[in-house]
Amino acid sequence: MAHHDFTAPVSEHQVRALRVNDTVTLNGTLYGIRDATQIHMFDRGRKTRFDLRGHAVIHTAPNVKRVDASDEHPSGYAPVCVGTTTSDRMERFTRPLMLQCGVRIIIGKGGLREASAAAFTDLGGVYLAIIGGTAALETTWVEAIEDVDLDDLNPESLWKFRVKGFGPLLVAMDSHGGSLYTEVKRSAQARRAEVLARLGVK
């Protein structure tokens, strides 16, 4: 259960060193991505001008405010409240995101499924669990919105955040087939019969 401080981009070697139950804190660049962003990128062939190779993405669509572009707010957007959405809906985008864009780290809540676990193993990736519904806290880790692409999809644009001390985040799926979600699901399923018996279900 080691702790790692990462500044993206990271190498395959760095990501493969991570094991389930390790923790990671991110500094520097973090990209925000969401359902519509990925539907447009992978189903409709839209391209981004951002180079995502070795980077971390977070499943988000933030609350932002339009402001005059400045050193503090280079993109012309100020972060209001940045939080994380349920990852499961974006399960089928994990492999293309890694294969076509070179993403190595996905941050989200609630976990991803088997196809993502396989992509992490095959291509060298990892899923970091953030605590869903704790956006006020998360926002304090975001220094600025540096840039934004595909902004016609706002709020589901492709966001480039600058973060500081973003974490600690829990390694919940690693590149060696480990997944806390699979473990918990298996053990919860194993308790089902006992729980139903206690409820008097015949």
Binding site: K109, G133, T139, V184
Partner: protein
């Protein structure tokens, strides 16, 4: 008592912002109670982060969660309240739109097929407005619930049959909690609708999911199910965020309605740990805000 639609508009705006920022005291107490009982180390860290977030939101005057939800307004009109119903609905809609534009929070509402976002948290039939009547004299109450999608996406209806009995209801609830896993942002309030028609059953599940912690179903049979199911689902070990632990749900809430001799419907709708709601009470003396 005559109600000015401009006051309703202002309250509808204020309620949306308050709901997004301030967690009701019953949920805070519920969170502390789960944390005190939790035996799993990871789960305890997760709950600790949730508790920290509540105070960060208060200190930084920020939203608790980035999901501004689907706006729902529940209105209860007491005896002797005079107002134009159409004007009131329009006022609520305008207040909801103004909250979004003036505070600059995220509009989470899109057309269901074109996915076009009008950036004002409204659209066809949204905000959702429910109107009911009470016996309370000279009182108008408006409750605002910004219903988050992580939990709303985990909603189910089963048209069970009489021969399957109460066992079908219990089994269905347990299986829904298992299927939801971490997707609903547990610990949750598991709302269960029992009986009615298909649409009423689902509505009752939502009423149950958004009820204050510590409240009980008015039907003793529903209350009995609540007690049994609350203890049972926390035996599954799904835990906060689906990462394992004792704290899968704050509680299971049940609402019941009479149903047809051939029917045995059960619905589940969940509320996430950021179980947000806000309430404005209009009386002759003025408007009071609470939960």
């Amino acid at each position: 008592m005559r109600i000015d639609p401009r006051e309703v508009e202002e309250a509808a705006k204020e309620l949306y912002i308050r709901a997004l920022k301030l967690l009701p005291p019953d949920i805070k107490t519920g969170m502390a109670a789960l944390n005190a009982r939790e035996t799993d180390a990871t789960a305890k860290r997760v709950l600790g982060t949730m508790i920290t977030n509540i105070s960060v939101a208060e200190h930084t005057d920020n939203l608790l969660c980035q999901d501004t939800g689907i706006p729902i307004y529940n209105v209860w009109i007491g005896r002797g309240v005079e107002m134009n119903g159409v004007e009131m609905k329009e006022a609520i809609r305008r207040g909801c739109q103004r909250a979004t534009r003036e505070y600059s929070f995220r509009s989470s509402i899109v057309h269901p097929t074109t996915r076009v976002n009008e950036h004002d948290s409204s659209g066809r039939h949204v905000p959702v407005i429910h109107i009911d009547f009470t016996d309370t004299p000279e009182t108008l109450e408006i409750e605002m619930v910004p219903k988050g999608s992580g939990s709303e996406n985990n909603s189910w209806l089963k048209m069970a049959i009489p021969a399957e009995g109460v066992d079908a209801i219990k089994t269905f609830v347990v299986d829904c909690v298992l299927e939801a896993g971490g997707k609903t942002c547990p610990p949750t309030i598991v709302g269960v609708g029992v009986g009615g028609t298909a649409d009423l059953c689902v509505h009752l599940a939502k009423v149950a999911a958004t009820r204050a912690l510590g409240s009980q179903c008015a039907d003793p049979e529903g209350a009995k199910l609540e007690a049994e199911l609350s203890a049972a689902v926390n035996g599954l070990g799904v835990g906060p965020q689906g990462l394992g632990g004792d704290s899968t749900a704050f509680a299971v809430h049940v609402e019941t309605a009479a149903t047809h001799i051939t029917m045995n419907p059960v619905a589940v709708n969940m509320q996430c740990h950021s179980a947000r709601r806000a309430r404005a009470t209009f009386r002759a003396g003025g408007i009071e805000y609470g939960f």
